[in-house]
């Protein structure tokens, strides 16, 4: 399962980033790495982007970008 499919309000754990490059690096720099727990807080009013909470802070990313993050639902 990938992060973009997670419903707002659910928790999940990151399994793997399936992209290197700029996006992958950026996600890692922002604290998205395998093993960490993530809560999907909400989608934007127009459905995209989405807001996450991880490790005590919030970030947003587009669904297109969340596609590259493999997760398991908790």
């Amino acid at each position: 399962m990938t992060l973009d499919q997670i419903k707002p309000g659910s928790h999940c754990r990151i399994k793997k980033l399936s992209i290197g490059n700029k996006l992958g690096q950026r996600l890692m720099d922002m604290g998205v790495y395998s093993g960490i727990k993530v809560k999907v807080l909400r989608n934007a009013p127009l459905k995209d982007p989405m807001e996450l909470e991880l490790d005590g802070y919030c970030m947003s990313l587009r669904h297109d970008e969340a596609r590259f993050v493999e997760v398991e639902v908790l």
């Binding site: 700029k22 604290g31 934007a44 982007p49 919030c58 970030m59 947003s60 587009r62 970008e65």
Partner: protein
């Protein structure tokens, strides 16, 4: 002995309070510029401490030190090449674990490092306790807890900086163990050591790590420094794939993973978070602010408030500041040679033009001040990322970015914005491609200066459908801007760097008055400094184009003749009043004219009976005889006054005619005429061309120039409005012409102030020129399409208007479905 400039750099992640630290440490002695080649701010400040002079550089806030964004490149290159004596790593103590990710990267660069645990007050409030001793030991770096907002810990920080700078504090920072990657690092390190001199200039281990991470900038350095670069780099590449094969993770992923593990590990032993799962206030607020229905409503409210305070109230404020600028102008008027009856000395004309150009810009200062203060509030409070969050989907479809919202609102999504603050507020957009697209389309929105022409044309040609025409012109710009932006991002901006949207939503935070005002003043000052010089240069060029080659001797003689006739007529009329006749002999006549002009303009600027009396007293004491004519008392005075007014009127008419002829004759006028073979397809005659060309400096002048060209020719026309004169003068100018002209105005090249803002924001003359040229072609194409197309189809102005509206709407919707190439995938 302590002397010389000691370089100190501040590094840290965004939202860690780095600016507060910078301001607290350097106080008022700071300087903002751009790093060469990029539009990232370079803040430098100075500090004296115990007899040493420290130069403090505030590096851009970054989460990491890769080479993917300009900010990261700048921060990294600065540390690598400028080799600061001390780097202070500012961290948010309430969120220390995450900050360590950057700290480790700094440590790997083998620089003298101090870890500043800032925002200790916030940490305490959140129940976070930090074992500083243990932390220092685990990292091998000096740690200083501070709360710079309250000035706590500043003394300790300065002491630590001094200690590290003079090497009283020699510590070896601890290395992260990269586990399975270690043999690979060792291998690359060894080879670099054997084959190159890289080790003498860069930290070897760091260099090896970067190569294994696949960092392009570092590979580039190898290309320069290694004799067999290709071979070596392909060897590194095989190492990378070998590692990935064996460990099911790319080296860069593995590296990040190990860093976070190390951070986790340290956090476990030295950070105690008493209440980690508390649902924060921020999350609760976001529940409302980013809510599906409430969110957009709040956004519209915030935007309206911003627009109202900055643009509307800001313009009101200019009513108070404008007189100050006007004084500057009158000062120049009094210092330059006085005008003759019909001869305006070149120096005077030029000085006034020059000051008018600068004043037109300085007039924006109050607007900017309010605007920059409000933007600072939005930034500091944390609302800015939420705004982007809400709008990103819509704007993203057109190659823009969520953060394009604010600039577009300021630029005038509806009628009445101003492109200069719009462009200036593009700074924060992280995605280079979207940022450039936003900067380039903002001038096509409806700024306040375009409105007079719209109103003029609508009043003449769409009088029966005023409301519809206003609606059309107010909304059409958005329907053209969105497809244009999409087009730009698909073509000229196609290869520009894009950045992932991934963005922190920082906790909400009450902005401090000091911080907000400080930043507003700083930005206004930067604007003034950068803009005035360039404006000065361009003003000169346009002046020359409008002024030269000037009138021929023959034509001058003609006007001289007109002048002599007017004066002779005046003397003949007042010969019956010998007293006045004597007073106004010879040079005194011109003196009287100037006295009269001054008195008239002084009277216009004076309000209230008392002030008026004082003014009259002043002028009376200056010259009682002149005053009797200017402010007539007796019957004779009144008669002379009437004759004198006629003379002034005759003079003004001559001046206007000369001005018109000079413009006709000028390089710009000739250009206007030479353009007619093309512009006639858009329905523009040469007068319109000249008006449009003169509007290059400021759009307000389009109507003014039309006014000069369609001036009252005969006495009967004098009381007609410009509307009536234009209607009467230009036969065959139909609503269709007017529509083409209005659409051209929408797509008109940016005014002088805006082009300079574009230059400042893009850091490139090339983009500045592009921003001037492409709207011209676009505008002309649209005008030709509407005019020639409309003529061919036999449409009326109104029909053409709606046909075009439908077309623009259809194109906008269609363009929304075209996919942009995302480079990071």
């Amino acid at each position: 002995m302590k002397s010389g400039n000691i370089l100190v750099a501040l590094a840290g992640q965004p939202n860690c309070g780095k600016s507060t630290v910078f301001n607290a440490v350097t106080g008022a002695s700071q300087h903002v510029a751009n790093y060469p080649g990029v539009t990232v701010d370079k803040k430098t400040g100075w500090l004296r401490y115990n007899g040493s002079r420290f130069e403090v550089v505030d590096l851009p806030g970054t989460y990491s030190l890769t080479s993917y964004s300009p900010e990261e490149r700048v921060a990294r290159d600065f540390i690598l090449h400028e080799k600061p004596a001390v780097v202070v790593n500012v961290t948010d103590a309430s969120n220390l674990k995450r900050s360590l990710y950057l700290s480790f990267q700094l440590m790997e660069m083998e620089i003298p490092l101090i870890l500043e645990l800032n925002m200790m007050d916030v940490a305490e409030k959140r129940g976070v306790e930090i074992d500083v001793k243990n932390l220092e030991q685990r990292l091998g770096v000096k740690a200083v807890p501070t709360s710079m907002k309250n000035g706590k810990g500043k003394a300790e920080l300065l002491l630590a900086i001094e200690g590290v700078a003079f090497q009283n504090d020699k510590r070896q920072s601890v290395r992260i163990d990269y586990g399975a990657l270690e043999p690979y690092i060792k291998d690359v390190e060894d080879q670099l050591f054997q084959d190159t001199t890289i080790g003498t200039q860069y930290p070897l281990r760091w260099f090896a790590l970067k190569l294994l991470e696949g960092d392009e900038a570092v590979s580039g350095l190898v290309q320069e420094r290694h004799s067999r670069a290709e071979e070596f780099l392909s060897y590194v590449e095989t190492l990378r794939s070998k590692f990935e094969e064996r460990h099911a993770a790319a080296p860069e992923v593995h590296i990040a993973q190990r860093r976070y593990q190390a951070a986790e590990d340290i956090a476990r032993t030295s950070i105690i978070n008493l209440d980690p799962d508390k649902r924060t206030l921020t999350d609760k607020v976001d529940g409302v602010v980013c809510h599906r229905f409430a969110g957009p409503v709040i956004l519209v409210g915030v935007i309206w408030l911003l627009y109202y305070l900055a643009i509307v109230q800001g313009y009101n404020l200019t009513n108070y500041t404008w007189p100050l600028l006007a004084k500057l102008r009158s000062l120049a008027e009094s210092l330059t040679p006085a005008p003759g009856f019909i001869e305006i000395p070149l120096l005077r004309a030029f000085s006034l033009w020059f000051i008018d150009s600068i004043n037109a810009l300085l007039n924006y200062v109050p607007i900017f001040f309010i605007l920059f203060a409000l933007i600072s509030i939005l930034e500091d409070s944390g609302y800015m990322p939420r705004m982007a969050f809400i709008m990103d989907r819509l704007f993203g479809r057109f190659g823009l970015h969520g953060q394009s919202t604010l600039p577009m609102v300021l630029g005038g999504i509806y009628v009445g914005g101003c492109a200069v603050p719009g462009v200036m507020s593009c700074k924060g957009i992280p995605d280079e491609r979207s940022r450039l697209a936003t900067i380039l389309i903002i001038p096509l929105l409806n700024c306040l200066a375009k409105v007079p022409l719209y109103v003029l044309l609508i009043n003449i040609y769409f009088a029966a459908h005023k409301a519809w025409a206003m609606f059309f012109i107010s909304t059409i710009s958005l329907l053209m801007v969105l497809p244009v932006s999409k087009l730009l991002t698909l073509t000229v901006l196609k290869d520009k760097e894009t950045a992932p949207f991934v963005m922190e939503m920082p906790p909400y935070h009450l902005p401090s008055v000091r911080g907000v005002l400080g930043r507003a003043i700083e930005r206004v000052w930067l604007f003034i400094r950068k803009i005035t010089t360039i404006v000065a240069a361009v003003a000169v060029v346009i002046f020359v184009l409008l002024q030269f080659p000037g009138l021929s001797a023959e034509r001058m003689a003609y006007y001289e003749d007109g002048k002599d006739k007017a004066i002779a007529k005046f003397y003949k009329k007042i010969v019956k009043f010998p007293e006045h006749h004597t007073v106004l002999q010879g040079g005194s006549l011109m003196e009287m004219v100037n006295y009269w002009e001054e008195y008239k303009s002084a009277k216009m600027m004076t309000q209230g009976e008392e002030a008026m009396a004082a003014l009259q007293g002043k002028f009376k004491s200056r010259n009682e005889d002149f005053f009797r004519i200017a402010q007539p008392q007796s019957k004779d005075d009144k008669k002379v006054n009437r004759e004198f007014k006629k003379l002034v009127k005759a003079r003004n008419k001559l001046l206007r005619e000369m001005k018109k002829e000079r413009i006709d004759n000028s390089f710009l006028g000739k250009l206007g005429k030479s353009l007619t073979p093309v512009t006639r397809y858009a329905g523009f005659d040469w007068k319109v061309n000249v008006a449009l060309l003169s509007a290059l400096a400021a759009k307000e002048s389009s109507v003014a120039t039309l006014g000069a060209l369609y001036q009252p020719d005969e006495s009967g026309q004098e009381n007609q409005t410009l509307e009536q004169r234009m209607e009467g003068d230009s036969e065959g100018f139909t609503p269709l012409h007017a529509l083409a002209l209005m659409l051209f105005m929408v797509l008109y090249p940016p005014c002088l102030a805006t082009t300079i803002a574009v230059k400042v924001q893009t850091g490139s003359v090339k983009w500045m020129l592009f921003s001037m040229v492409y709207p011209m072609f676009l505008g002309l194409s649209v005008a030709v399409l509407v005019f020639s197309g409309g003529t061919a189809l036999g449409l009326t102005g109104l029909q053409a208007m709606w046909a075009f509206y439908g077309l623009a709407l259809a194109i906008t919707i269609a363009m929304g479905f075209v996919k942009n190439k995302t480079q990071y995938v």
